[in-house]
């Protein structure tokens, strides 16, 4: 418990320093765009591949689980859309990105720590916490909702491909299902939680990397800790947000 409180306190202090006033806005602006490319555009490929298969599998599994003749087949499209928007695109993508981006952030910052690059920033009088972490967190919070929207479209598109190339559901029924009882609030809810997840999947690994010490081995451990902890926190946050906003 004492260790948990220690890390929680240190994380809060780190975040306080991260969000303090930046020294040179022009430098931060440039770093923000670089990070948006690195965290966003560079993740687009994996997001699209996972999403298309995710949508296809949801469609097949839903069809496979509908036994009753009284349940209309457009339910398959409806279920694919709801599962994708409410859960799969925001949460599964966040967990995937926690692995991809989180390990990258923790190892990058951790390596800068053990090679004294962070000390170099501090000696120059630069706020190393803000300089290294703020652009990553802001970039992820801004770009992640866009990635999630793309994931939603591609995932529903994956289901459409199944409708097109198999006979488990007709294209007309699938398209009717994905349009049925659409609530924009669900998209707002999904995008809001994706922004929260983006904050977690960048700030937690950044914390682990920033306080890494010793050798490259320690950086590897910090990276693993960053991914595991951010994944667990994302799942807990997912539960809390769902409880608060959906019930």
């Amino acid at each position: 418990m004492a260790a948990f409180l220690f890390h929680l306190g240190r994380y809060m202090i780190l975040m306080w320093r991260v969000f303090s006033r930046p020294e040179k806005l022009s430098i931060y602006r440039k770093r923000l765009f670089d990070e948006m490319v690195s965290l966003g555009i560079d993740s687009l490929g994996i997001i699209m591949v996972i999403s298309v298969f995710m949508g296809a599998v949801i469609t097949i599994q839903t069809a496979a689980n509908i036994d009753s003749a009284f349940i209309p087949t457009y339910t398959i499209g409806f279920t694919t859309r709801q599962s994708t928007i409410l859960e799969f695109s925001p949460t599964i993508m966040a967990l995937i990105l926690a692995g991809k981006i989180g390990s990258n952030i923790a190892s990058e910052i951790g390596l800068m720590r053990v090679t004294e690059q962070i000390d170099a920033l501090e000696i120059m009088g630069v706020n190393s916490r803000a300089f290294l972490i703020l652009p990553k967190v802001v970039a992820a919070v801004l770009i992640n909702p866009f990635l999630v929207v793309i994931s939603m479209f591609v995932s529903i598109g994956g289901g459409y491909l199944i409708a097109m190339f198999s006979d488990i559901v007709t294209i007309a029924d699938y398209v009717y299902g994905i349009q049925l009882d659409f609530r924009f609030y669900h998209v707002v809810y999904a995008l809001s939680k994706s922004a929260v997840f983006a904050f977690i999947l960048t700030s937690v690994p950044a914390y682990q990397g920033y306080y890494a010490s010793g050798s490259a081995l320690e950086v590897g451990k910090a990276s693993t800790r960053g991914v595991v902890q951010s994944s667990i926190i994302i799942l807990v946050a997912n539960y809390i947000i769902t409880q608060l906003f959906l019930i």
Binding site: E23, K24, I27, L111, M112, T115, E116, Q117, D119, A120, E122, I123, M124, G125, V126
Partner: protein
């Protein structure tokens, strides 16, 4: 000038620095020497504020660094250049970007002024041709020279060099030592070099401070060190193989 008065530092029960008193003169290259674990790196980290000492005063031209608030410390830090043992260059930047970085972050220079300053310091360390390279593409000696260029680009008043010769061949070590001394004299800055390279001591040590078991054991010049009868210092010099090599 940097003055240190009554500096103490402990980690838990272990006393690492004990009552350090020293004066590092402007325009001179001061060397802090001592065996590994003697406390010289801790001393330097206390001087630049990376570690807070338990007790004592560090004065930068009369300004007490340890009594300052964060803002004032930041101002002093802008006057400090630091060359790290492993250079600590930013991997994601080119040589030119590394050298330009302190100017971007710490000064209000125009783009043209920055361009001129970067070109000048890269020329000074003879690396104009390497400005587009990344640190991973540089040799150990080149990295040190980029480290020096980055440290001096914002025209610091104080320059700290942590083991500038570690990992370098003897010939490159001489080049780096000479460069540090020339820069010190040209810019009339206060330079502190941490080393256990006795060749550096003899080549550039205008002021030498020998740290032993966390205490300032001996203080003198490059000429005086060869005539010393201080047992611990003699033992350190002897262990470095310097005297044997000279006799040989």
């Amino acid at each position: 000038m940097i003055e240190v008065h009554g500096l103490y530092k402990s980690f838990g029960d272990k006393e690492v620095l004990k009552d350090i008193n020293a004066r590092f003169e402007t325009g001179k290259t001061s060397l802090i020497i001592g065996a590994s674990g003697s406390g010289k790196s801790t001393l330097t980290r206390c001087l630049v504020g990376l570690i807070d000492p338990n007790e004592g005063h560090v004065l930068y031209d009369g300004r007490d660094f340890l009594l300052m608030g964060t803002k004032e410390r930041k101002r002093i830090r802008k006057e400090i250049g630091f060359l790290f043992q492993h250079s600590a260059l930013f991997d994601f930047m080119t040589v030119e970007e590394n050298v330009r970085f302190p100017l971007d972050m710490l000064t209000n220079m125009s783009k043209k002024e920055k361009d001129n300053r970067v070109a000048f310091v890269l020329e000074r360390v003879e690396l104009s041709h390497a400005h587009k390279l990344h640190p991973s593409e540089l040799s150990g000696g080149m990295k040190k020279r980029v480290g020096i260029a980055r440290a001096i680009s914002p025209k610091p008043r104080y320059l700290f060099c942590d083991e500038p010769n570690s990992g370098l061949d003897p010939q490159t070590s001489i080049v780096i030592d000479s460069l540090i001394q020339e820069i010190t004299h040209e810019n009339d800055i206060t330079t502190l070099v941490i080393t256990h390279d006795m060749n550096s001591v003899i080549e550039i040590g205008e002021q030498i401070f020998f740290i032993h078991k966390g205490e300032l054991w001996w203080e003198g010049t490059q000429h005086e060190i060869l005539k010393t009868d201080n047992k611990e210092l003699l033992s350190f010099v002897d262990a470095s193989g310097f005297l044997t090599n000279k006799k040989g």
